[in-house]
Amino acid sequence: MGVTARAFDETYGFGPYPDASGAGPLFGGDGAGPEVRAAYAQVAAWLRSAPPELLETRRRQAELFFRRIGITFAVYGDPDASERLIPFDIVPRVLAGSEWAVLEEGLTQRVQALNLFLADVYGPRECIRAGVVPEELVLLNPQYCMAAVGRRPAKDVWVHIAGIDLVRTGPDEFFVLEDNARTPSGVSYMLENREVMLRLVPELIHAVSERGGLRPVETYPETLLETLTSVAPNHCGAEPCLALLTPGIHNSAYYEHSFLADKLGVELVEGSDLFVSGDVLFMRTTEGPKRVDVLYRRVDDDFIDPLTFRQDSVLGVPGLVGAVHAGNLTIANALGTGIADDKAIYSYMPEIVRFFTGRDPILHNVPTWRCREADALSYVLDNLHELVVKETDGSGGYGMLVGPHATSEQREQFAARLKANPQHYIAQPTLALSTCPTLTAAGIAPRHVDLRPFVLTGANGTKIIPGGLTRVALKEGSLVVNSSQGGGTKDTWVLDGPEVGDMTGASTGPFEAEGGDIDGPFPGPGGLD
């Protein structure tokens, strides 16, 4: 299945060094040690030449910048840290143009499949009839939205904005960890991280641009605007009125909501700013009511309309679903997309992709045990110590168990919950997530990363901005990258040009010549103390 016990290092590939007992500094001054992969050549050269104090200064400047602009997020259940800063790492994560090309194709295929799947399960249900997905898993799924049954959103687009979480395990091996098809967040970090890099490491960006260049991410707001405009209801003229719906300032992603509204040049609205009259959505302005045609909503289905969903919700707008059904309003993403990112459905994605696109999936799925199946459950219970167990409708790293890192007590408690409610859980092997060089208290060291590219789909097809949110687990050895669990972020660089080149220059080949006795690239724990 392509999953190896040893993590792929994005700088060196599989070097001979994870056991770095006699470690010297990464990117050692004399250039000895394993060869650097082509994509990282400039970064490696930059790290070699930059004194450690400089890196630390830049890191602090970045932090200051983020705090000043107020890019913070709230941590649920932690009143003392209601506005924390996500740590930012100034060493970029780099993908070669050729690597990106594969991802782009795979992501497009996957998101198109998600859209077709949604159209089908709320329409003809052919995939159920064909036995691709079990009927009860769809129809009895809490994420299956009755209000969407038999409906067709404008231009048949369901998932306008998708965030697909990927992990890498080898030079050509990317796995989809999760599909986020409801209200994925994190794109503001993609944009702001780049801004901060442009300010803080211009010399590195200059070096990269001399060698082909760094593909820009700044077109995201423009592309999002086009996407949203393209799916406006038919009654609209050339300039539909757009708005972005936020749950409010206490939401963990509020900064992002306000950031995007600003970049899009649209009003940032809360439920109380909106009302529906005659199946038309209006916002209350100082000039009187103004009609809204497209609503980019960052509020989940459950809360969006108390007349249709949760009656106690004050975040939504009574009658909003009526406006959607009357064809007077497009909401992005459409109602009911939660079924597509349900983790139980996830395990069927390879079949779903094949069924709807007629091709093999380009991106792999992580092998998944569905705990609703008795065999799988007993396997999972027996192997809790080496599995990651997740709630099928959970997100943000809450309510999950990372078996190898849990105490036996935690595992026992989790097993009890699992037995009580097996259909709520899936389990996956602990993947050896790839690592990237990262600035730590003890200098540059490898840390595990994942990647969330953002995929936009409108009436004119699917577009992906070259880049995404790279999350990094800052704790040594940790595999949990979620910001709510102490993860940080990095800027993600997609280089221009298709060149593959796994190694720099005239590589002499693999590393065995160096043997295990030379300085490994990674300092051991406390090696620099």
Binding site: I249, R284, T286
Partner: protein, 313 residues
């Protein structure tokens, strides 16, 4: 503009102005309190500060001693006092955060910085020096805010709602401050030179940063009725009642122009301004300064409510 955004901006303006007023009040009171009790210093000075800030009920309910340590803390850092500087800045910032996109980066940073500044002081005040330092620091931070807003905000609804909040709050503060001291401002038959009340008047002037202004305007020693005249009728004095009303009328006119029509708030502000402009300090003393001030505060509230209604807050 969204009505909620207009409301956020208006209230951000109000909270920041209130915080600024409290800083100046504390500054002036610390000076007054350093005088012997016979000069109106010590305890009475702090009691008067509490009343000027119109938080006497809240303070009395806490059963705290009426001294610098407690009043000072209550007005600056007390997290439980909804009118403390700390809470004002917190509210101003969360209002600002809700309209983050209407603010320029500089304006947002200034309000965010002001909040971080007050946060740094924690919730306790170890000594007098710290109390003064809090007032100084926050005053500076708010000057920074005014400068940022003035220099960088577009002159459109965003800015006008912000300033409107400032103006309405400022008129309220000046009127209340005058009312607490109104009995000291009445003209008297006895000679005023060397009166102990002198310190009360200069404190009052300091609270609205008008001591120097007074001397420039009147070119004579501090006389109570002239203090009242300056703070009520002088159009050049930015915190005077008439200047506040002029600002309010102008701001509401700008909003009306962009919106294409006027409403009750425009009429209330213009009427108040006309009435005040048609009066003078002697008339006020005859009909009762206290009554006038109570009416003024009531009218100002009515203006605030009319603004909220007119712009659908």
């Amino acid at each position: 503009m969204l009505s909620r955004s207009a409301s956020n901006l208006y209230w951000m303006g109000r909270y920041l102005e209130r915080a600024d007023f409290l800083c100046r009040l504390i500054d002036a009171t610390v000076r007054l309190a350093s005088l012997p009790a016979s000069h109106g210093g010590a305890g009475p000075a702090w009691e008067s500060a509490i009343r000027s800030a119109a938080v006497d009920d809240g303070f009395l309910a806490r059963n705290l001693p009426m001294d610098e340590a407690h009043v000072g803390w209550f007005l600056t850092l007390d997290p439980e006092n909804p009118s403390s500087i700390r809470r004002c800045l917190e509210c101003a910032r969360s209002n600002g955060r809700a309209v983050r996109t209407s603010l320029t980066l500089e304006t947002w940073e200034a309000v965010n910085d002001a909040w971080h500044e007050v946060q740094r002081f924690g919730t306790t005040i170890p000594d007098s020096t710290t109390l003064v330092r809090i007032a100084e620091t926050i005053k500076d931070a708010l000057l920074m805010f005014d400068g940022a807003a003035h220099r960088t905000q577009l002159r459109e609804a965003t800015y006008w709602f912000l300033r409107l909040g400032t103006t309405v709050e400022r008129a309220d503060n000046t009127a209340r401050l005058l009312d607490v001291k109104y009995h000291l401002l009445l003209p008297r038959t006895e000679p005023v030179g060397g009166s102990l009340d002198y310190f009360q008047w200069t404190t009052l002037l300091r609270t609205v940063s008008a001591l120097t202004a007074y001397r420039w305007v009147y070119r004579e020693s501090v006389k109570p009725w002239l203090v009242a005249d300056l703070l009520i009728f002088n159009r050049a004095m930015p915190r005077s009642l008439i200047a506040c009303l002029e600002d309010a009328v102008w701001l509401l006119d700008q909003l009306a122009a962009s919106r294409g029509r006027r409403g009750p708030a425009n009429r209330i502000a213009s009427t108040s301004l006309r009435t005040l402009a048609g009066s003078n300090i002697d008339t006020l003393f005859q009909s009762g300064l206290h009554e006038f001030l109570v009416d003024f505060v009531g009218e100002n509230n009515r203006l605030g409510n009319a603004i909220a209604e007119q712009y659908l807050f």
